[in-house]
Each structure stands twice: as C-alpha cells, then as structure tokens.
Symmetry: C2
Subunit: 199 residues, 2 copies
Amino acid sequence: MGSSSAAASAPWKQLLLSSIQANSRLKHSSYFQLATVSSDGRPSNRTVVFRGFQDGSDKIIINTDTRSRKIDDLKHSSFAEICWYFTETWEQFRISGPVDVIDGTNPDPLKLEQRQKSWFASSVNSRLQYMAPSPRLPVIEPPPPSQTPSLDPSIGPVAAFCLLVLDPDQVDYLNLKSNERLMFTSDINKLWTSEKVNP
Amino acid sequence: MGSSSAAASAPWKQLLLSSIQANSRLKHSSYFQLATVSSDGRPSNRTVVFRGFQDGSDKIIINTDTRSRKIDDLKHSSFAEICWYFTETWEQFRISGPVDVIDGTNPDPLKLEQRQKSWFASSVNSRLQYMAPSPRLPVIEPPPPSQTPSLDPSIGPVAAFCLLVLDPDQVDYLNLKSNERLMFTSDINKLWTSEKVNP
C-alpha cells in the first residue's frame, strides 16, 4: 500500500481504454459476454453492456435485472469472466473476478448511491425495461391493454434495477493482429504484475 | 424416434443458419464466446471460431489446442455455453450442452476421422498454430532461430489438434430488433419444444 504501483490504476486499464476508443464508432463495441456458473454447475453466458468503471477505479459496472438468471448464478457463485472482443482492432480482453450484486435492499448507503447514479445515467428507454414483464416467463398474447408502462424521468431506480460491479483480479489480453498476449495478475493487495506469454 | 419432429433438424437450426447467412459479410460473424467452468469452480470465457455443424446434425464443431485451458475445464466439467451475438442483425443465440473432446488418442475411429476432416478443412496457417510454442507459457526472447515451423499440407493432424463437438440441449434466442425471445429445450430423446418468452 502507498507504493506507486498500488496507487496507479491497473496496468491493463489503459490498454482497455485505448481499445474502447479505437472501436468506438461501432455501437456493439460496448457489448461483451459475461460468463457465470449456475447453481447446477453449468456455465451461463450472455451479452451485456459496459456501463463504465466505478469512480475512477478499475471495477467494471453492468446494469441488470434482479429477475434475470445471472443474479441467481452470482448468489450461488460470485465469480464471473468477461470476454470482450473488439471487432475493429482484433483484440480480446478476458477479465475475471468476483462480482458485487447491488440491488435496492443493499444495506450500504454508498452502494445504493452508486446504483442510483447508474440508473440516472441510463436512457429512459433502458429504464423502462425494468418495468417490463418478468424475463423468461411465457409471453401473454394478446398483450394486456395497458402494457406500455410510463416512467417519470425524475423517479429513482425501480426494484428490479440491479447493479453488478466486477472487481478484476486477472486479465488476459490477446491481440490477433500482432499475435501478442499479455497476462495480468493481481495479488491480494491489488498489486498487478504482467507477463508476455505465448498466444 | 421415427416421428417427424425427431427426424427433422432442430427447430432453432434454421434460425441460426439464417443469421449466419445474414451476417456473413462480417468476418467476425463466425466468432462466438464459449464459456466453461474451471476446476476451481470459476467460469472461463473466450472467443472461438465456428467450424460448422457435424455431418448435417445440429452439433457444433470448434477446433482447439489440447494444451489450452478449456481442455482442462471440459475434462473437469463437460458442459459449455456458447454466446453468439450477431452484430449486423442484433440477434443473440445462447447454446448450451455437453462437449465431446476429441484428440488424437480417441479410441473411436469415426471420431478420429471427424478430427482429420476438420484438420484438412482448416487453412495451413490455422494448422501452423498447433505447432507453435505452448499457449500461456512465457515468451522466450529473442525467439529461437528456427522458430518458424514448416508444414507439409498433406500431413494429418498434429498431436495438439483437438476437436470439440458441442451437442446442444438448450437454445435461448433473442432478437433485439423485434424484442422477441424464444426458448428451445430438448428432452432426452432429442425432441425439441419451443416457447415464446419475455425478453
């Protein structure tokens, strides 16, 4: 603690920020795949949207629905791995670490504040998804008459809105153009080391 | 068995073939993310290349290196989930099922034949990867003088070449343009049912 390596941001973060920048003309460049482990021991994998880093840290923010299966997965096994492939620059980041699940019942006021911040940072259209019928339940046809929910933009997060905060402890970077691979590993004090390895 | 539903190909396959076709101008449309579970219980996730369906079936073929970590993962826990996001048509397929790992020591002659077929279906450049130094080992610099391996194109699969065959038992299809989601599930007789569910 207090050393410059601990104080500085993680060494892979600048690399990732550069990739985000270089691929930013593509809408899908902010999408990545998040793998978790289900309670039956099988892996799950789905596309989610990058919502930024938490307050200048290297923790990654994802918005999700408390009614989605990934919440059950993470309550059973808190680790996840992001696979983020950048189609323009042919770079892949595999980012692994434990995930903090922050819903409206969280006892920590700071975390609730983060959740609120992320809610207001989303578009009203995004927010409306959390008022839609439960994901994965059978569709009721014809739809009930008053199915289009309305939302006051000044109202805070609804119950289904949930924040996921992934705290990376391992990052595997692969560049398919230069054929280079770097492995970043952190110790319990969040001191990072990196090594150039065979792709 | 013998019913038309069992004889016909899986109901999600035509949907997937249409998406592959509609996105085919993009090189990366044949890439997807494969999630597995490591022996320490953490999820792993990486980009791999779709190598087609096995002999007209609905089993999905992936080529990989026996020295990669996914082989250890699959020996420990044989299930995987593919997340395949099509960036042109905004469609996602989550394809889950057990994976058969077929390396050169496989006792089944038919499986060895499939492995050989997939080897010869790959480009010579792809094949050369399996003769490269072990993935994830530290890079030795400067590289040894004779590092560029040569390969006789008529020679069969090298030891590191391995076939993965994923046999889907669950497919979750999401269309972000129409906001529709379909869940396909198969029973032990490989009879598929589908249901329209909330996205």
